[in-house]
Structure formats: structure tokens, C-alpha cells
Chain length 305, copies 2
């Protein structure tokens, strides 16, 4: 079943110890949609400028991503540039030009509002809430946020996530949101804020899923080479929610298989790992579903005891 | 079957955000033996001064640890003091008084030399080699090392581990030993040095086991409160090798179940997690095998998908 994704569509300049790219397709919405497209029909809501290249539109279209909600307006597309440290565990932002994204007001095409799955990429929480309120048939909605909103738009953020089925953030954001350093205690506090399912990404160390009665953990996939971690967290999100959409997962009817959520975390980890194998979105040009399923099985082998 | 453990027996002064202890039983040999004692008969080789307290000897004896190889000589027992950072991911050594440990020359009682399992705690590599060469019926031998020997006694260390069945170190030591930042590549280089099995501890992030044909990974156990991480890595070692000794694991006959090694990593993780629940060795005063097996099953639940 169909998934709607809201977020940024951007151009990135990236430098890692393996090389650099001056201008490559990026943005949270792009990564989430490309990743989810391997599992389900995906529709995006975003904005680009008149510099958005036909070949980038074509890449998304080649994955059958519905672009009706991708608005194109005069001006330049969101631009970000950053450089990674030698071990790639840190990165420094060199430049952020919001450009047309500064005035982004998500417009949901009528057909999108009836879709059952929604992933709200990291944008201002009030804008996220505006979108979710338009979704009339949602079965499973949730999204991401970031330190900026946790610190500077905390009340709006709390109002927004209160009604989410799931929240998907990284470990430092979880600690900041809960104001608690111990991860188990932080997770308990976040579940009290509304989302019944909390997924915490830990970068190379894997991911965890928390519900009141459940804890699931998976180690990170060990790559021979990490070329570029940009977008890995968003690809995780795309794999997680894309898999659940494919399965028709319905948390709200109360009669679901908890292992489906666990498998969704594995698919998220798989997609995040593929993302790091090449620069930007390049790995998605030739990645196949068979490779994805093979890596899922690899996760089984290296965690079985 | 019986396990022999070589290493330090010490007194520690420890400060963590949860409190402090001025003088508490510690040392790698102590932690490894206490942990392993839940799985198998354990014999230790170490040295203490004439200040070694009867109650500390009694704690080890209460776990049926064979103390024939614990030499007592005039002088003071090895003393270490350290303070942990607020998040307990770093610690600063305040004082290290080797005392009687400075002249430690491991003396293996005759009965020990016939035992099949040997864990060489972190001491000077040439001393480690001297012990392993006296073990006539070893089925599974290996041990630990540290940055000091990797840097300052590299050749002796390489000569020593060449004949080990397993090496058990932490991630930063693995990177230093292999001179390689990528963990998968570092592991491959270390396996080339001799040990057929490499276990890498990652602290709160869990552990990994590498063989030429195998990768196994487990996330760390999430504790509600980490009181004191001192000795957790040694307790991991005790659980790992203790479980294999209990099972009569025989790597050298080539006909073994790889999942036994995986389960040994889980038992190592379980023992490391219990160690952190109280100061020093205190958790081992009342810990039961039933609690250990329950936590092992908990690991199954939170990693199944």
C-alpha cells in the first residue's frame, strides 16, 4: 500500500576521505523515497527550484516515485555542503542555503490524503502537523525531527508527535528530547509523550525499537568501506516504513505481529548500509531488491545464536 | 571442565557518578574467575601482598575458585584508582601502584598444567607465553592484551598470540593492533596473525566474533543504571570462556558447533552487564545462575526477528 513522504529535496556538496562531489542529488525526502520505493509505491511532497535537473527527476521516476506533490518554483533548490572527519563519525556543515525550501508549505495532492502510510521527514513541527491532519485514512504515521526543533520549537514538537504512531530519531536526539542520558530511561520518557513505537538509530552501532512491552535491538552492518554516510538515516527510515507499508501493517487495529516491526528495523538497517556504499544516492541507481533480501538474510546469520 | 586464569588480583579505588569506594577487590584475574565460576571449575594464578584480606579470599573460595596458584608474598597488593566521566564512557586513572605485581612471575601448579582451558589475562606477553607453553593438554587457549603491549612490546605480543585459539580485546585495541580503522578489515588482519577466533568488545555497544568464515554480532544489554563499569570486559571474558569450558568445547578437533561460540559471546555479554549493576565485584555476592540464564533468554527475545 502507498506511502507518502514529506521532506527536503536538495543538492549536496559532500567531502569524505574517499573523495568529493560538488553537486549531487540529496535531501531527506529523496533518500527516504528512493529507499522506500523498493518496498511500496511512494509519493513525495517537497519543493525544488527551477534549477532542478531533468535527470534527477528521472531517477525518482525510474523508481516509480509519484512526483505530483513535488512542487517546482522559481529560484534555487535547497543546497547543503559538508565535510566528514577521517573516521566519518563527525561531519561539519560548511554551507546551508535554504533557497526555495525557506518558504516550503507542504501541499498534499488530493489523492495523497487517502493513503494509509505517512512519513514526516524532518521539517518544522507545525508544518508536519498540518500535513498529518489532512491524512484521512492513516494507518501508520510518524516521522523524524532534529536538535533544532527539540531545542527551539519544543512545544510545537510535543504537540505534533503526541499523535504519531512512531517516532524515528537518532540516539543523541533521543537523549536531548527526553533530557535523560540513560537510553532505556530516555525511551520510556519518550513513549510517555505519545508515540507508541520509538525507533532509535545509533549510526554504525545499529538501531533499537522500543514499545511499552518490547525492546528490539540490532547491531549495525559492518561494511568493508563506508564511502559516504550522507542519507543513511533517511534510507533507514525509508526501509523501515516502506517494508511495513508493503506488508499492510496496521498498528491501530491492535492485532499485529510484533516481529513485523523487528523485521522493519532490519530492512531499515539494510537500506542504511547500502546507502553508505557509494556517494549520495548513487548506490540506488543499480541496487536490486534481491541484494536487499540477501543482506536481510545476512543479518539473520550474523545475529543467530 | 576446568579453566585456568592468569592475571592481576588487585585493590581498586573507584569513583563513578553513583558514588565511590576507597578500597574494593578488583583485578582482571578476580573478575574473570568470579564470572567463569558460574560455568566451570576455575583455578587462578596471581600474586597478592600480605595485606590481602581474608574476606576477599573467602569470596573467591565461596565460588569454588581454586586458589592454589594465588601466591602471597611480603608487600602490598596491586592498587589502582580511577574516576569515571559523567556518562561513564571515559575514565581517568589517578594512581597505579604495581607493588608485588611488579615482579609477578606466574607459577603454574602441576595440577593446573593438565587443564584444557586457559585464559591469559592482560599481562606482559612474554609472561603469557611462558604460561601457555606449560599447558600440556590445552584445548582452547587465548586471552587479552592492552594498548601498552601493542605499542611497546609488539614483537613479543605477535609471537605470543600466534599460537592462541582466540584473542579477546576491545575495539580500540583491535584498531591499534591491526593499524586499520575499518573494523571488518582490522579483524581480517588480526586473524592473519594467528588466532582463529577474534572477539571484539565494544562496551555499551555489544560485541562481535570473527572467524575466517563467520561473523557474529550482538548489541549491548541496556541497563537501567550503570553503577560501575570496572571489570565488565573481564567478566565478559569469564562468561565467554567459562561457558565454552562448561560445554567441553573443542575447537581443535575441527568438529564443533559454531553456534556454541555465538552463545559464548552472549554469556559474555550477560556477565559484563551484571558486573555493571553494582560497584566492583559486589554483584557477584548474590548473583545466581538462574538470573544469568534468564538474561540469556532476554537476549534471545530482544534480538529475534
Amino acid at each position: 500500500m502507498s506511502l507518502v513522504v514529506i521532506g527536503s529535496v536538495a543538492y549536496d556538496a559532500i567531502e569524505t576521505p574517499h573523495g568529493k562531489r560538488e553537486r549531487t542529488l540529496g535531501g531527506s525526502c529523496t533518500y527516504i523515497a528512493l529507499s522506500a520505493s523498493y518496498f511500496t509505491t511512494t509519493s513525495i511532497v517537497g519543493v525544488v527550484g527551477d534549477d532542478f535537473a531533468a535527470e534527477d527527476r528521472a531517477l525518482l521516476a525510474s523508481k516509480k516515485v509519484d512526483l505530483e506533490g513535488l512542487e517546482q518554483v522559481p529560484g534555487k533548490t535547497f543546497f547543503w555542503s559538508g565535510v566528514y572527519s577521517a573516521d566519518m563519525n563527525d561531519r561539519q556543515t560548511l554551507q546551508t542555503d535554504l533557497n526555495v525550501f525557506a518558504d516550503f508549505q507542504p501541499k498534499l495532492p488530493a489523492a495523497y490524503a487517502k493513503q494509509p502510510y505517512l512519513f514526516l521527514g524532518n521539517i518544522q513541527p507545525t508544518l508536519q502537523r498540518g500535513v498529518q491532519e489532512q491524512m484521512s485514512g492513516a494507518r501508520f504515521i510518524g516521522g523524524d525531527t532534529m536538535n533544532l526543533w527539540i531545542t527551539h520549537a519544543r512545544e510545537e514538537l510535543l504537540q505534533t508527535i503526541k499523535n504519531w504512531d512512531f517516532l524515528l530519531i537518532n540516539d543523541s536526539e533521543a537523549r536531548m528530547l527526553a533530557n535523560e542520558n540513560n537510553m532505556r530511561k530516555a525511551a520510556a520518557k519518550i513513549l510517555d509523550l505519545g508515540p507508541g513505537t520509538l525507533v532509535i538509530k545509533r549510526g554504525e552501532y545499529g538501531a533499537m525499537l522500543f514499545r511499552r512491552d518490547t525492546l528490539f535491538m540490532v547491531p549495525g552492518y559492518l561494511l568493508d568501506d563506508v564511502f559516504d554516510p550522507t542519507g543513511a538515516g533517511d534510507c533507514f527510515a525509508g526501509g523501515f516504513v516502506g517494508y511495513l507499508a508493503q506488508r499492510g501493517f496496521d498498528l491501530r487495529n491492535g492485532n499485529f505481529d510484533i516481529h513485523e516491526l523487528h523485521r522493519a528495523v532490519i530492512y531499515g538497517s539494510v537500506m542504511g548500509s547500502f546507502c553508505c556504499e557509494q556517494f549520495g544516492v548513487e548506490r540506488f541507481r543499480d541496487l536490486t531488491r534481491k541484494e536487499i533480501d540477501n543482506r536481510f538474510e545476512e543479518f539473520r546469520r550474523f545475529t543467530a545464536f
